[in-house]
């Protein structure tokens, strides 16, 4: 949460981290295991150790050159001053030694160029190191994600995972790019400046260092003050975002029930709260900058005065004061910077820790040493004493036995939330069963090569998943090597060809991110086309309820029937006609399979299914009763 305030330019790649104290006092997140995570992050940098060494060398050199130059410049001033003083005193042949000054200035010019070149080179190398490191980190993350079991995805929200892959990695990237070199230069500058100042005047150095505790005091006092407001701001912001999101997504309802006024007055209340804590947080953290400047200036004044007195006593040279002033300015900057960087590094390590947490997640159970492949599958499926549960202590499925011959249709029915997707999870081996076995054509799923296993299945789910791309690409997703002809055939079989052709761009129509440019029903047709193209032996179908409706449904039904021919099909059924014609019905409730059999068998049992079936028609078609009895 603190990242928002820290990195206003985050989207840009965060190149504009503020030079000043903005964002000061925002509580930084802390890593649980700082050292371990740090070490691990450093391991990512290992391939670049030579380059990083070069960065270190150039950073040190560049900084050292930059540190030497004020002293040289001061010498030039001193020569000028002395020449002038001699003139004032009317010394004979008094003149400013321009040769010496020229020499110094030429040298300075050289130093400046070198210093600039080195800091440029250093940033240049770092750009590549940082971006490449982050590239590998992202790649590792993505590959890791592809090996994680479905359980991981079901137990983490998308936002959570996304924020780790994108935001946290971005955070690391920015730190590598900027804070790392900043830290190096800050430390070198600090050390160098202190040394230079000491050589000029230990007394004045003492004065400058005396202002340090003052700076720390100011920063910590203000930071702790502003935290309260930052937290208030964050809370109000969350509330405001929540309200806006709700009111906008529920706009139709707000309108329909005439609640606009209320919604606005609520918004204004939260908005007011945000303002109250927002400006205070902004102001208090903004006070740090001027106060630091004040402390610096006090140091500056003291230097001028003490230095002035010292010069009149001939204790130091005039040029040294000038140099000293420049050093003193350079002295406070790295200190503020380091304080800032310390915060940033802390939040970076916290980010890295979250990233590594994903990298450490348990992966899918590996394939057996010699995974088997079914090359010409038939589609017989058997469940033998299958036991399964999502949570260890809450048994869900126990001793499930099902025997399905190839080409049969199995309808899965039950109230909403009865856990019908569990079966899919087991069939596709998205989840591992606890006991027993599931076989396809007599071969245990666990002995099969994962890719092979999954190629046996085709799924059409209700929450249609399509990606940003053309309709053609989306259908072709079903099979990599599909020809244009096959894609169109599949679309035709799914009754999607017609609507696709009515779109302005036809098969080249690009589906936007939410695929909101085609209707829900059309999306469903596309997913069917995709499954048809994949041509699996076993189908898992989620029968549409509200998404695809009646007339399209007719098309879909025929398409599905066509698709189901000769294939073993598991249908999560909502339609009675599907249920009645199924070879077997699995009745699920509260996650368990409570009954199974054919329609007639189940009705004869007078159990849950019969109840379910009867209730649908009670009151509506009384004359139909005879069919049930």
């Amino acid at each position: 949460m603190s990242r928002q305030g820290h990195r206003p330019g985050g989207g840009f790649g965060g190149h504009h981290r503020h030079p000043g104290g903005r964002g000061f006092g925002i509580p930084a997140e802390k890593a649980k295991d700082f050292r371990g995570t740090m070490k691990r992050l450093i391991r990512y940098l290992k391939p670049y150790r030579f380059r990083l060494l070069a960065v270190l060398v150039t950073a040190v050199l560049g900084t050292v050159f930059a540190i030497v130059s004020p002293k040289l410049l001061g010498n030039a001033t001193t020569i000028l001053f002395e020449g002038m003083m001699k003139k004032l005193k009317g010394a004979p042949n008094a003149a400013v030694d321009f040769d010496a000054i020229l020499q110094i200035l030429l040298m300075l010019g050289g130093l400046y160029v070198m210093s600039a070149a080195f800091s440029y080179i250093q940033q240049l190398i770092m750009a590549k190191v940082a971006q490449k490191t982050v590239y590998h980190l992202r790649k590792d993350l993505n590959e890791k994600l592809s090996r994680l079991p479905l359980q991981f995805y079901d137990s983490h929200t998308h936002g959570e995972i996304l924020s780790r892959v994108i935001n946290d990695v971005d955070n690391i990237s920015n730190t590598l790019q900027q804070s790392l070199t900043q830290l190096i230069t800050a430390v070198v500058t600090l050390a160098g400046v202190v040394v230079m100042m000491l050589t000029i005047s230990p007394l004045m150095t003492g004065i400058v260092i005396l202002t340090l505790p003052l700076s720390f005091l100011v920063t910590t006092v203000i930071a702790s003050r502003s935290q309260r407001y930052f937290m208030g701001q964050q809370k109000a912001l969350g509330e405001l975002n929540g309200h806006v999101e709700e009111m906008y997504t529920g706009h139709q309802i707000v309108k329909a029930f005439g609640r606009e006024e209320r919604s606005i007055s609520n918004f204004n209340k939260i908005n007011r709260k945000l303002y109250d804590s927002g400006w205070k947080a902004q102001f208090i953290s903004g006070v740090i900058m001027p106060l630091m400047t004040l402390i610096n200036n006090i140091g500056y004044v003291l230097i001028c005065v003490v230095g002035g007195v010292l010069v009149t006593h001939r204790a130091i040279q005039i040029g040294d004061i000038q140099a000293f002033i420049q050093y003193a300015r350079q002295f406070s900057q790295p200190i503020t910077q380091t304080a800032n960087i310390a915060n940033i590094i802390q939040s970076t390590i916290a980010s890295a820790e979250r990233v590594f947490e994903i990298l450490d997640e348990e992966e899918e159970v590996p394939e057996t040493a010699q995974p088997r492949i079914i090359s010409s599958p038939k589609g017989d499926v058997q469940f033998r004493d299958v036991k399964f549960s999502y949570k260890k202590d809450v048994p869900l499925i126990e001793n499930m036995n099902i025997d399905i011959k190839k080409g049969q249709t199995i309808a899965i029915v039950g109230p909403t939330g009865a856990g019908k997707t569990t079966l899919i999870n087991l069939l596709m081996r998205f989840y591992e069963i606890d006991d027993g076995k599931i076989t396809v054509d007599g071969i245990d799923l666990r002995d099969l090569q994962r890719g092979n296993l999954r190629s046996l299945f085709g799924i059409v789910l209700q929450d249609t998943w399509l990606f940003h791309g053309t309709i053609r690409e989306n259908i072709a997703y079903g099979r990599q090597d599909a020809t244009e002809e096959e894609i169109i055939q599949a679309a035709k079989a799914a009754h999607a060809d017609h609507f696709i052709r009515t779109l302005p761009e036809g098969y080249d129509t690009i589906l936007n991110e939410e695929a909101s440019n085609i209707s829900q029903g059309q999306k469903q047709l596309l997913t069917i086309a995709r499954a048809i193209l994949a041509d699996p032996v076993i189908l898992i179908l989620d029968e549409a309820t509200s998404s695809v409706d009646t007339r399209t449904e007719v098309h879909i039904q025929t398409a599905m029937h066509e698709l189901m021919k000769g294939r073993t099909s598991f249908v999560i059924a909502h339609r009675l006609s599907t249920v009645r014609s199924a070879d077997r019905i699995l009745v699920m409730n509260e996650g368990r399979v409570i009954e199974q059999g054919t329609h007639e068998e189940l009705l004869a049992e007078w159990g849950f299914y019969a109840d379910l079936y009867n209730s649908q028609f009670s009151g509506d078609i009384p004359h139909d009763k005879k069919n049930i009895g």
Binding site: F12, F257, S519, V554, L612, Y613
Partner: protein
Amino acid sequence: MIRLFRFLKPFRMAILLVFFLTFFQVLSDLFLPTLMADIVDQGIVKGDIPYILRIGGLMLLVTAGGTLCSVIAGFLSSKVASGFGKDLRSRVFTHVESFSLREFDEIGTASLITRTTNDIAQIQQVLMMMLRMAVMAPMMCVGGVMMALTRDVRLSWVIVALIPVLASAIFTIARKGVPLFKAMQTKLDKLNRVTRENLTGIRVIRSFNRGEHEKKRFDFANRDLTETGIRVNRLMAAMMPTLMLILNFSTIAIVWFGGIRIDQGNMQVGDLMAFIQYAMQIMYSLIMLSVIFVMIPRASVSANRVREVLDLVPKITDAPQVRKADDNLGMVEFLDVTFSYPGAEKPALSHISFRAGPGEVTAIIGGTGSGKSTLIHLIPRFHDVDSGSIRVDGVDVREMSQEALRDKIGLVPQKAVLFTGTVAENIRYGKETATDEEVRHAAEIAQAAPFITEMKDGYQSLISQGGTNVSGGQKQRLSIARALVRRPKIYIFDDSFSALDFKTDANLRRALKQETADSTVLIVAQRVSTVMDADRIIVLDKGKIAGIGNHGELMKTCDVYREIVSSQLSEEEIA
């Protein structure tokens, strides 16, 4: 962005003050080196220690004054920026609340949310930085030159020359950098999208064995982003060294030319030292400015997006002279209604005419895109018709006030939307003044009472944002209860039973029958079983009425209806 800044008007006094204060702050910053020069030229040269101390005291006063100005300016800026953000947010939100669904479709809900929240935050942030830094930079330039002129006119040329060189260096880098930053943002968005798709589609990806393909897709986006990132950072790597180099060389120039002037007796050493510090101050203020320059393009994108919202005029507004219906019966009439969505070639509905009166159930059935939802959205005037008219209790909906019209209607939408708050609050959303008894009754009819009482705090149980802690079926039932508690004259159920299991569905409809006996009921439905006993079934096909009548009549006369029925029911059931 400029156009949004007209909303700064109420803050003009504060802004003016910020300008003044910043000016004094800048002056104090520049006055310190000047005083130091005096210490050198007067105090040190003459060995006048009391003078040095006196000037030192003065310097402390100056810096204290400068700090005070800076703190007050910071205080005012925070208030202005936050106040501006607050006002703008409130203005945008209020405006959006007046939008019809059409405007929502035009911009998109997600985009509207970002515009109201993030985009405004972005503008607010830039405003803050402008008030603090952008104001300072030009003043520092002008002030620096002024100060230099008072010290030595001839040497001031170095400083006068420095400013355009620094400015153009920053400008050149910014001009190259901004498109790169933009590209970077697009590529980051793309990587974001691919990742999101990978997450939402994980089951599909795995079942189609397309892991490798997705890996490549991700890698492509990742590589693309990395390359742009390297380019951006390389460019930025040049910025600071370049600026420092310019500054340092101008320092050399100051010392060299200053030395000559001093040698000629036209200037003093203290002035030279002051000049060097002026140059430094100017450079730092310009560097600060460069930070803003990079932020401004992004903020102006945000500003444009916000402005778009404010400029969008809602198409549906109350007539200047609203008419009130004489009766409150709930009579709904469609008279030759044709409606098309903006930009659509064909009308979504054409020549729709029917009448639905109190005590009647009118069902609407038809295929995807046949216009069912569109039809019922016209009744609460979510859209306006192209031609024809819709009358409620004899008055054209466009002539009534939206409030009076919607008061008559209880809508249960296709997608049940609940709000954060308690169960009771959610039901009461339909009627703020409903008593506990009324709330309970509505919940009972909607078949929601059993699960509500099972919840930990009953009617006081909290519904989380988006209703994620209740199931789809429960959401639907609460959304039905919300409409029921209104006791409206017109009920509109937009496919509202889809998430219910067979049994609840049947119980609910039985209970509803009594509750809605005196009202006009319109039901959009998928299941034939839901509509079979309606008084009137309207069969829609491609936006036209394919048939109107009861089940028996339609079975005889309407092919489309028969097709639908036969897809859902077996032979015996049809009979």
